[in-house]
Symmetry: C2
Subunit: 261 residues, 2 copies
């Protein structure tokens, strides 16, 4: 099977124009098939504040009310997505920017929770593999905004990490998928304060042992659980590393690699 890179970036790099420009150059230079999934940045907060929309939090979790959905649709699907596409085009990468509503690419369902109303938050139900495959086969690189829909006319806000993971799982039926999560650290660290304490490889046995030794930080634990879920569902490997090292990450020469064996 042909290789496919699915790469997720978050707000840290989106908010740093110089770092973002370098990252996009590196992304454009990856040969073959690739998908970029992006989160938001500070602009969503800036726009919400300017429009007098207050962020609602319940138990530390952001609530997507109608006004917040409006802002994230503008900022994620509009400003960030299209600027990433234009920049990639400028780097010779034939990119197309999409949300899950486009061509019904990612179908979701509004989250129903027994006690908390998260608002317009979507949990993914299905990925339109044929559609994504047809674009990739046409030589296009896909840029995905973290917005989905319910096929009944409603847009929904969906976590970018989850979108990357579900795309990777679904497209593993057609491609050998490497799923790369880029963030500001070198990868999974033995000591969160020390970038030199990188753990280069974690298999399920290593993971159990690291958990027992309580070496995995609270923030990293769900990321690794998700990474193993992806690997168990057919994704070839998950790589977690620094966005500044994308060239090395795709060659598996940096970051932490999570595999089945």
């Amino acid at each position: 099977m042909e290789q496919l890179f699915i790469i997720k970036i978050g707000g840290q790099v989106i908010d740093q124009p110089a770092a973002l420009a370098l990252f996009l150059q590196d992304f454009a230079n990856i040969p073959g098939k690739k998908i970029l999934v992006h989160g938001g940045g500070k602009l969503a907060t800036t726009v919400a504040e300017a429009m007098g929309i207050r962020q609602q939090m319940i138990d530390g979790r952001r609530i997507t009310d109608a006004e917040t959905l409006k802002v994230v649709t503008m900022v994620y699907a509009g400003y960030i997505n299209k600027n990433l596409v234009a920049a990639l085009q400028g780097n010779g990468c034939n990119a197309i920017g999409l949300t899950g509503s486009d061509a019904n690419g990612i179908l979701a369902e509004k989250r129903i929770h027994p006690t908390v109303d998260f608002g317009f938050v979507g949990d993914i139900r299905s990925v339109n593999v044929d559609f994504f495959q047809s674009l990739l086969q046409a030589g296009l690189s896909i840029v995905m905004a973290p917005i989905t829909h319910d096929h009944k006319g409603q847009l929904l806000n969906t976590n970018a990490d989850t979108i990357a993971q579900e795309l990777a799982k679904a497209l593993s039926s057609q491609y050998e998928v490497d799923l790369i999560y880029c963030f500001e650290k070198a990868g999974v660290l033995r000591d969160v304060q020390d970038n030199n304490s990188l753990i280069t490889k974690i298999n399920p046995a290593d993971f159990e042992s690291l958990k027992t030794q309580q070496i995995i930080s609270a923030g990293m634990l769900p990321k690794l659980e998700n990474a193993f879920a992806a690997v168990h569902a057919g994704v070839k490997k998950v790589i977690i590393g620094n966005y500044a090292e994308l060239q090395l990450l795709v060659q598996q020469r940096a970051g932490t690699t999570i595999t089945h064996e």
Copy 2:
């Protein structure tokens, strides 16, 4: 050749949720291949005002400075485009929302004017016919936001009427194109105040005669000049009419039809 409808809507209908819902139902029900090109609405002004961005006008023409481009990219390519796509999906129409930067669909060049700096305004240079054709052949209906790019990394603001016209001209090599401009009037009127004074058909000879009699309003004149330019460039017909009558417009049973003969 197979028929293709290219339909343009402006801000009037976008700002009226009930009218928009009916319009989108009618659009979804058009059988066969179709493209919807949309302009903006009041939201761009609301967001710009909230963010303290002042609209610059020179000689009655809007200037797209960097901050204004940011707002229109958010509102047109993000909020409006994706809400139209989600609504069409909810009506059973498999829509995909795009700007000209996506897949390099519409390449433009920043307007250079001897005396006025219009800012980030793009004049269209080329349309990627193969790309649009591949989507239409896959059964997708395309929703175009009035944003293009220069292929050097810069997004540009391009008039929605012009996008509709250039798409219609370019795609006439592959389809029999009907280009429909929807607005709040019944079509081209002999008396702008009287919706019953509709002119149902205008050919080049009629147009000369109407101009001589000074029956065409100043606002309608450039629209008709553009319509004839499209028809001369291979578009089968241009229809100008009321968005509430879309079902009749596609059947050529309402509005003003502009043709070659």
